[in-house]
C-alpha cells in the first residue's frame, strides 16, 4: 500500500495529464462531432457523403493506429507537434464520429409525428427545430454523450503507449520500479480511472432511466 501513498505526487501528475487530455480532446471532439453530425443531416449531398465516409473510416480504425499516425507518422511527414498535442488530435478525431452518432441518434429518436404536429400547427422550420425537436433530442443525447466521454477517459490510457506521460505511463513506470508491489500500484492507477468513469456511468444510467420512462 505504501507504494501507492509514497508516490502519490507522481500519480497526481499523471492524473492531471489524463484530465488535460480528457478535457481538451473532449471539447474538440464535441465541436468536430457536431460539425460531422450537421453535415450528415444537411441537405447538401456532397457534405453528407463526406461525413458518412469519414464516420465509417474513423470508426473502423483502431485507436492505436490513429495515435500511431499522430505520434509517429506525422513527424515523418514533417510535423513538429509535441506528443501531447498529437495525442489530443488523435483522441479528438477518434472520438468525433461517436459524438456525431450520439447526436444524430438523438435527433432521429424524436418521432416524426412531433415535427408533423408542430408544422401543422403552423410553426416554421426554426420554431419547429428549436421549440419542439431539440428539447426532446437533448434528453436523448446527454446520456449517450456521457457514455462517449467515459470511453474517452479510458481511451486516454492508449496515449500512454505513445510517449505521453499520463496516468497509464506513470503506472507502468512505478510498477517497473516497485516490482514487489505491482498489484497495489496498478490498483492505485485503476482507482484514479474509476473515480472518473464510475460516477459518470451512474449519472448516465440515472438520466437515461429517468428519461426512458417518459418515452
Amino acid at each position: 500500500m505504501d507504494a501507492v501513498f509514497d508516490n502519490l505526487p507522481r500519480y497526481l501528475d499523471g492524473f492531471s495529464v489524463t484530465l488535460l487530455l480528457l478535457g481538451v480532446s473532449g471539447v474538440s471532439a464535441l465541436v468536430l462531432g457536431t460539425i460531422i453530425a450537421a453535415m450528415r443531416i444537411s441537405p447538401v449531398a456532397s457534405l453528407r457523403g463526406f461525413a458518412t465516409v469519414y464516420t465509417e473510416i474513423v470508426r473502423n480504425t483502431p485507436l492505436t493506429l490513429v495515435l500511431f499516425f499522430c505520434a509517429i507518422v506525422l513527424p515523418i511527414l514533417g510535423s513538429t507537434l509535441p506528443f501531447v498535442i498529437a495525442a489530443m488530435i488523435g483522441l479528438s478525431v477518434y472520438t468525433s464520429p461517436f459524438v456525431a452518432e450520439a447526436l444524430r441518434s438523438g435527433i432521429n429518436g424524436v418521432p416524426v409525428g412531433q415535427a408533423e404536429a408542430a408544422r401543422s400547427v403552423g410553426l416554421g422550420f426554426g420554431q419547429t427545430v428549436s421549440m419542439v425537436i431539440l428539447p426532446q433530442a437533448f434528453r436523448m443525447t446527454v446520456p449517450p454523450l456521457i457514455n462517449v466521454f467515459i470511453a474517452l477517459t479510458k481511451n486516454t490510457s492508449v496515449a500512454g503507449g505513445f510517449f505521453v506521460a499520463e496516468l497509464f505511463t506513470i503506472g507502468k513506470e512505478l510498477a517497473n520500479a516497485r516490482g514487489d508491489a505491482v498489484v497495489a500500484v496498478l490498483l492505485g492507477v485503476a482507482t484514479f480511472y474509476l473515480i472518473i468513469t464510475v460516477p459518470l456511468g451512474l449519472l448516465a444510467t440515472q438520466l437515461e432511466k429517468k428519461w426512458v420512462v417518459q418515452r
Binding site: 470508426r59 473502423n60 507518422v73 503507449g161 426512458v212 418515452r215
Partner: protein, 320 residues
Amino acid sequence: MSRGAAVLFDAPGPRARRLSLILSLVAGVLILLGIGWILAVLAAPREGPGGLELPSMLSPERWNIFTDPDVWALIWRGTLATLQAAAVAAVMALAFGVVLSLLRSAQSRWVRVPTAIFIEFFRGMPVLLMMLFILLAASTSQFWAVVWALALYNGALIGEALRAGLVALPKGQREAGLSLGMRQLQSKMLVEFPQAFRQMLPIIVAQLVVLLKDTSLGYIVGYTELLRTTLNNLASFYGNRYLFSLFVVTWVVYLAMNLALSWFARWLSRRTESGGGGFSWGRNKGAEPPEDPNQALLVAEASADARTSATGGGAPGSRT
C-alpha cells in the same frame, strides 16, 4: 427523423433545389481540393538530414518491398495473430457474459450485488491497464494478457447486455415456464435466456467488432499482432523509409476486417429486428438499435432498470 426531415420545411422549390445543388458542388470541389492537397504533400520530395533530398511518400522506392511475397506472408501471419487473439477472447467473453448475466440476475442478493460490483469494476477500467495488470501480476505471456483483458472487459459488457435482455422479456414468459412445472433455472435457461440472447445479438456482435479493434492494444503491451508485425518488426527490418507505406497497408487491412464485420453486424441486426420480443429501441416501433454498442447497452440497461423499478420488485428473479 431522417426520413421525415422534409417535414421540417416546405418541399424545396426550384430555387432551393438549385441552391442546394450549387452548395453541393462547391463543397464537393472543396473536399476534392483537400484530398488533392494531401496527395500533393505526400507526393512532394522529402527533405532529409543535411538538405538531402529523399524520395516522396508515393514514389515506388518506398513501396517496392510489397513485391516481396515474404512481406505479405509476415503481414498475413500478423493478421492471423490478431484474428486468433480476437477469436479466443470473443469465445471467452461470451462465456463470461453468459455466466455474469445469470449471476447478476440471481435471486440471492449475496450473489447479485458482488457481481454488479465486479462488472462495474471491469467496465470502468481501461482495457490497456488490465492488459498490463495481467501481464505483470499474473506473469503470463503477452497473448494471454491480451486475451484475458479483452475477455474480462467485453464479458462484463456482454453480461450487462444479456441481463438487460432478460429483464426486458415479458413477465409471462417466466410465468408460463414455471406453470409448466419447470424449475427456476430450467425456465431461465430454456425459455428466457434464448430469447434474451437473440434480442441482444446485435449489441453482442457490435461489441465483438470493438473487441477486434481493441486487439490492436496488444501492440503496446508487446503481443506480436498485426500492428507490431508491420509497424515494429517489418519497419525496423526494412528501415523507417518504409514506415509510411507499411502504415497505409496496415490501415487498409484493418479497415477491410472491421468493415466486413460491421456490415455483418448490421445485416444481423436488421434480420433479428423482425423477430418478436417485448423490447423496442427508442420510441418508434421497430426503430433500429443504435450502432454504437455502448449506446445500445445504455438504452437496454435503462429500460431494464425502469422495468424492474416499475414492477416494484428489486430482483428480476424474485418474482414468482
